[in-house]
Symmetry: C2
């Protein structure tokens, strides 16, 4: 069997919506290279693991096993990164993974390296090629909100239409008309399941609470921009 040997790592783009902003979980590196730089959380694939196993293990380690039930969240593979010089220690291939989580109370794992959710707009200068991986992950998340029901992965088990709309607005950095948005999501079969309860205590008319429905796709999709594609 020819070919060089690689160390294989998994790097996670863990996104959540916090205070109406898209945030990514970063860790501060405690060792060289890139010591004290921010980086995506990740780790090497163990002997008995497939890539998804490693990603799930790292996700649980970073966010606490509680949120890892994955009923609510979402985890999917992004791309592979293997430029010859991407890691000065040697040949390392990294598989990017994208995780979407509800806004968890706070992500500081005990004892580990310092970790924090930071708004993606403020992030740059990450270790290795993590800026690229992060950009790919954010773009994937933005694209998937268009044609899937994945936005609900950012929400707690029960949520309102307004909660869901704020997810879209935060991820896309746009404003969406509340009335048209409500028509769209409530008229898509299987997207939202109404619960018996309503929310009280806020201002205004109490909203209906929903749970995620079984639908995964949005047909037709919700388009970010009525963008004119190209010039003839």
């Amino acid at each position: 069997m020819r070919g060089n040997l690689f160390a294989v790592a998994v790097d996670l783009v863990i996104l959540t919506v916090r205070r109406d902003q898209l945030n990514v979980l970063l860790v501060r590196r405690g060792e060289r290279p890139y010591e004290s730089h921010w980086a995506l959380p990740g780790g090497f694939v163990r002997a008995d693991e497939d890539l998804g196993d490693t990603a799930a293990r790292e996700l649980a380690a970073q966010t606490g096993a509680a949120t890892q039930g994955a009923v609510q969240g979402h985890l999917e593979q992004l791309s592979g990164y293997a430029a010859p010089d991407r890691d000065p220690r040697g040949r390392v291939l990294s598989m990017g993974y994208l995780a979407l989580l509800p806004d968890v109370p706070d992500p500081e794992p005990t004892g580990g390296p310092s970790a924090a959710f930071l708004p993606v707009e403020d992030v740059y200068g990450l270790a290795f090629d993590h800026d690229t991986i992060l950009a790919d992950g954010v773009e994937r998340a933005r694209a998937k909100l268009e044609y899937t029901t994945l936005a609900a992965a950012f929400c707690p088990p029960e949520f309102t239409v307004t909660d869901l709309r704020r997810v879209y607005e935060a991820v896309w950095r746009t404003e969406i008309d509340p009335r048209n948005f409500q028509r769209k999501v409530t008229s898509t079969p299987g997207f939202l399941i109404p619960t018996a309860t309503r929310v009280t205590g806020g201002r205004g008319r109490p909203p209906q609470l929903f749970r995620r429905g079984p639908a995964t796709a949005l047909h037709p999709p919700m388009l970010r921009e009525p963008v004119s594609v190209a010039h003839a």
Copy 2:
């Protein structure tokens, strides 16, 4: 640096449309394991290569450097596959790549292992986990025809609207109304650029010849099925 070491390979899903059928390029293995089984073409990543370099090199090797100009074709990364037992020789991670080509004259490379385009419908029992990689590649291609102009990658430099429609019909295994299809593709700015020439010699009214335009996205997308998404 912890972690096991992997051999890293690239496996190609090379698709083309031939005789109104979606075909994939396969090679017959000449060595163990899976000797004499069909497999996706591929190879190991060399010391100075990034993943895309390896994919481009293998694509050129399989199809001849002629078609490899890639102006016409298309090459993109699929997923990574690294199940611990996917290769009996040891730990191997394979990056899938998807290539779309016009129907080349014939792909038999000199001296190499026997290679052939086979209709994807007839393919099963490939070596390793290549059935999975192939399925992922075909599904990616089908999905991308919906919201990109990538179908033109299956066509020669100049082609008619009917050629393009047959690509969609072959990849999706559906029938499309020629009149509505023509309206859709010709009214999308930047998708098709008319040339001065027309085709003569066939039956019926001579069609207009087009080249690919600069557009890459289709807004709104062309939907495969008015599928009812889910049950409430």
